[in-house]
Subunit: 423 residues, 2 copies
């Protein structure tokens, strides 16, 4: 079973409105294991809609068409559909009745235009629309199933959930099992090359997606709704997950679409730990990302953004001798910043970032030379990062990397706590 979605509307191709119905339908279809092969977005000219219905029929057996069911002149989806499939239009007394009822209920005046909504392709089944006047239609012809849906997202969603979803399960033989992995600190191509070396079972479908300062890996298995195959698929995914976890433990930070800061924030709260940041080139990014989370006052106390050497000395109490000897773009400076900010702001953890974000070099270090550090209970760890993603992504990447290492540290603390409790 292959599906296609056609979204119609002049506002969509003019860029005035971001089309969102197709994404909703895509996610719903994916849930039940129906493959969506194509989305078509076109304006509201009849010929264009007909052409897109034609494309969709070539590509798929299950076709959703959204938009153009309203009462105005540009609402001609039903006519285009009937013409393309060679069906007559008929007047539905049933729809007329429900229109009259709707307008009575909303105490608004019914216009001539509204009655145009009572015409429908002969043989179409009416799906009730509780949120608007445009009824949705279901139509089966030539072995293909069509759904004509209103373009207003709330109306489409409600009809889909209440009157279509249940139909779909019976339409598919597929059932996809899948597992997602999110990585920081490893590039898409390196990850792909490493995954290839693992020689995972060939029945697994592997895909990658690069995000901002992170990479997503997804493994999928099509069990075709077969119980035995499902058992095999679950086992294959479980095995692959173990292998991937084992191989990439330092880069892998979550199995779903979470923000790394959410994980860090949650763990800090659970562990009753507090944190402060000392920032140079990240210029507030660390603090901004931590405080973006509701409830951050429970673990975040504050941050010092010391952009100049003078302020690193004045606000963060870093010895001028150290600053003169190693410079501000140094491991030594990053480590002192992390330790001192934790000390001054009286927090359990201190994190820091200092370096050259770019575009220009700093103190003889090329743009993208960045030092980050984490202080916890008298111990300091630091990392040198060398990237050339450009100023903005360099800054963001450094924060991603720092939060990843913070997550790794917090996991370790949690495990040690558990050990202590056992003892």
């Amino acid at each position: 079973m292959r599906a296609a979605v056609i979204a119609t509307g002049a506002e969509l191709v003019a860029g005035l409105v971001k089309e969102s119905n197709s994404n909703f339908i895509a996610r719903e279809l994916s849930e039940v294991g129906i493959e969506l092969v194509n989305i078509f977005i076109c304006g509201d000219q009849k010929e264009s809609i007909k052409q897109n219905i034609n494309y969709a029929r070539q590509a798929a057996d299950l076709i959703f068409i959204s938009g153009g069911l309203g009462p105005t002149k540009d609402d001609i989806t039903k006519v285009a559909f009937a013409e393309e499939l060679g069906i007559e239009m008929t007047y539905s007394a049933e729809i007329e009745k429900s229109l009259v009822k709707f307008f009575k209920k909303t105490q608004s005046e019914i216009s001539e235009n509204n009655f145009s909504q009572a015409y429908l392709p002969a043989g179409a089944e009416i799906l009730e629309n509780r949120h608007g006047t445009a009824p949705a239609l279901k139509f089966t012809a030539q072995g293909k199933q069509f759904y004509l849906l209103p373009g207003v997202p709330i109306e489409l969603k409600s009809i889909f959930n209440k009157q279509i979803k249940a139909d779909l399960v019976s339409l598919t033989e597929n059932k996809f099992l899948s597992q997602e992995f999110n990585f920081i600190g490893i590039g898409e191509s390196t990850l792909a090359a490493e995954i290839e070396k693992l020689k995972l079972d060939q029945r697994l479908i592997i895909s990658y997606q690069a995000g901002r300062g992170e990479v997503k890996l997804r493994i999928k298995f099509n069990s075709k709704n077969n119980y035995a195959a499902e058992q095999i698929g679950q086992q294959l995914i479980k095995n692959a997950t173990e292998i991937i976890k084992d191989k990439f433990s330092t880069y892998l930070y979550s199995f779903d679409d979470q923000d790394i800061v959410d994980i860090v924030a949650k763990t800090l709260q659970e562990q009753g730990l507090t944190i402060a940041a000392a920032e140079s080139f990240t210029g507030g990014t660390l603090a901004e990302r931590l405080t973006a989370k509701a409830g951050s006052s429970g673990f975040f106390k504050g941050s010092v953004v010391a952009y100049t050497k003078e302020l690193k000395n004045k606000l963060l109490k870093i010895n001028n001798k150290l600053l003169d000897k190693y410079g501000t773009v140094s491991k030594q400076c990053a480590e002192k910043m992390a330790a001192n900010v934790a000390n001054i702001l009286e927090t359990s953890i201190g994190i820091s970032a200092t370096g050259a974000a770019g575009p220009d070099p700093l103190e003889g270090h090329p743009a993208g030379t960045m030092f980050v550090a984490i202080y916890y209970q008298g111990e300091i760890r630091s990392w040198k990062l060398e990237k050339s993603y450009g100023r903005s992504l360099n800054r963001f990447y450094a924060s991603q990397f720092l939060f990843l290492e913070l997550k790794n540290l917090l996991t370790k603390i949690k495990e040690e706590d558990k050990l202590c409790l056992k003892k």
Copy 2:
């Protein structure tokens, strides 16, 4: 000239990612008066991409294809394109060279996979991609123009703006004259109602677009490349611009797609002024936005994010009596924060923000009660903002508002300087 967009990627038809490139291209085409007739979204199977290229060729003469130019196995747009158009693939030494350079610069390891990016359809023109390794391609065949673009939005946008936009103007008979206005501190519907009252010339096309913490207004005139009409259009737009400038001077901050912080940063640099921030609920947003700009070390010294009452006292030297009397969510606290941070960090200007970002109330003030202040040469101005945009947008909006008022102050300083020079 009719255009079509094809967006490819398994994540798009699976509903995992909301496709956004087509909307960006749609808006850009609309700007120059090119009609976008169809958007096609498909997965990353070669046959499917070929089929969609075929559809697009039937519908349009100008075709944009996004996605599938990366180094992994599922990146096969170029091959699909070459096959569909019957072109050979060739190896580009030029791309290889730039790949080697890119990886050398980023000091990351180049994998075999990466070299697959050096293959391209024979005769394609290479468009440089400054944000990634995948070069974009331009190809003209059979009277049709194709652009193959990377799927990562930031890469696509940058290539489009720098290397494609100028091409498009020559492709259309329409000629739109337009003027953009950017506002902060006034809502879209209020703005629209006020603009309506102005009764601007009916030949002008007026549109609005709500952004993050700002509203864009655009007035357009289609001169259809006719000289006389163009003269009229220019006059109409000039008149309307004067009226709008006059009416909305406090909210209007720019006439193009500039970030308010760019204007502030540039003026601070020109005036030789320095700035520091004291932040509570914005949690680093003010500092982060200022330091996002290259060259910010020329005017930005640092910021203190004091999330707790204790740190407002300890780091920002705010009297505990004041904090106890008025609370941290107060005009008095905001004003002291701005003045003290300028004093401690020895800058010309101090800005501050304190309040309840949400979702919870704070010190008896509902979420969205926010105070911001600006200190300059012994004078302090402060504002109370009451919004209920939700935590994230509340924070951002406060920063927008503060930068707008900072811009207004800097404009005043600049004008006074000019007056002094004249005297």
